[in-house]
Symmetry: C2
DNA sequence: CGAACACTTGACTAGAGTCAATGTGTGTGG
DNA sequence: CCACACACATTGACTCTAGTCAAGTGTTCG
């Protein structure tokens, strides 16, 4: 297990990876840097995620994994993972499925980047972050705390920081949210979903358990703990 | 094996898929439609590709697979594929790897959609199409023929048809290419790569064989034949 | 306290979209 | 063989969303 400060690289673009990373506490993002410094954030990850599982079969990284805040992560040698997946096809399928959900989220983001305007992109991302944090018990319908700056949001959505700021002000003005990413209150969840044309199917989340029963269904790839 | 006309759906968004599609001849794309009709093209596929391999473990489609021209495709029941992957972990890994390359291409496209301007996006896509067609023997360095309209390119790159048209004229004016997608001559491959900041690593293509020797390396998932 | 970082605001610019019309080539039916 | 329809490509004029630049204002933290 290793510990990282905020804004630290866990794996770098071009690295030859020989182990998989499992986020235990904290948050990370994956990103690609262009030569001139432009940055595209590709995904955000919560505790329980394995953000570089793809390194198992594509050993040279085409992007970096970086922390958003102080983060701890466990590492498992590829050799060990490979042995497990060889011996237990069910686990191999669960891992494979995990990378497929990853790709489904990429497709949704591509659609946003290509077709949606700034307001739709921002609200869509807020909805996604909310649901994913709720999925690991780090948020409620009322709001969440996520350690991304407006610049991070801009780099994820293909928008400038200034424009992200203005869109957020618009959402506050329309009574949809209050506060900032680091302490966001959702005032109108329905309105937020509508503004972002948000349909959560692509997240492939297990259906919410009714009361307090144990979640059934597909393998869950790790246990999560809130840090903050 | 089934045959499709141009602009036909092979699989539709929302379908519960129970078989995998292998493109034999022709070309297809995958796309998502928004409620108001906006369309994001997510990928293009050549003969030999299995564009909906992900359906194996995410059984409800989050996008459609459509033909660009008259296309023939073979279909394999998920049950059969699953049995093969259970019995032959090496094949499972090859399929898994295929979906991971798919995701790597998504990441590159996301980066383009979020960070690159119109000219960079168009040239980058031209480079990608060229290399991928060459990879299956359907093009040379001199150029290619690809049955996408300017509207298709626009929907893939998040640009309007009119703007795609103007960018292409710019590239012709600068002596980089001649003609149109359906009959493109590449006049300056180096210049095209430079204009699109194109680095083909993400395609994970096997290194070009030296003379005429058999390709070694990773499993190739099908054999291709030119149509057109 | 002061540096660093994030957020906010205003004024101006520019890249890309929209609208509408006009080519241009192809195929088809009479 | 021609007329017509259709799909795709092209052009011009105008608009607008989002970017850029530059200057603030917090706020945190060593």
């Amino acid at each position: 297990m290793r510990s990282y400060n905020a804004r630290a690289d866990i794996v770098r673009d071009g690295d030859q990876s020989h182990e998989c990373c499992l986020v235990l506490t904290g948050f990370v993002h994956r990103s690609k840097l262009l030569k001139d410094g432009r940055r595209q954030i590709l995904s955000f990850h919560t505790p329980g995620d394995m953000p570089d599982l793809q390194g198992l079969h594509l050993p040279v990284m085409d992007h970096s994994v970086c922390t958003l805040m102080r983060t701890t992560a466990a590492f498992i040698e590829h050799a060990a993972v490979r042995q497990i997946t060889r011996e237990h096809p069910g686990i191999a399928e669960a891992f494979w499925r995990d990378t497929l959900v990853d790709a489904a989220i990429f497709r949704e983001w591509m659609t946003g980047l290509g077709q949606r305007d700034a307001r739709e992109r921002v609200t869509h991302l807020l909805c996604e972050i909310s649901l994913r944090l709720r999925g690991v018990g780090l948020a409620t319908e009322a709001g969440f705390s996520f350690p991304a700056t407006q610049t991070d949001i801009g780099d994820a959505l293909g928008l400038s920081t200034v424009h992200v700021n203005r869109v957020l002000q618009g959402l506050r003005g329309d009574g949809l949210v209050r506060g900032n990413l680091t302490a966001l209150t959702i005032l109108d969840w329905q309105g937020l979903q509508a503004a972002g044309d948000f349909d959560p199917t692509y997240l492939q989340q297990r259906p919410k358990e009714a009361k307090g029963g144990e979640t059934s269904g597909h393998a869950s790839l790790g246990s999560a703990q809130a840090v903050h």
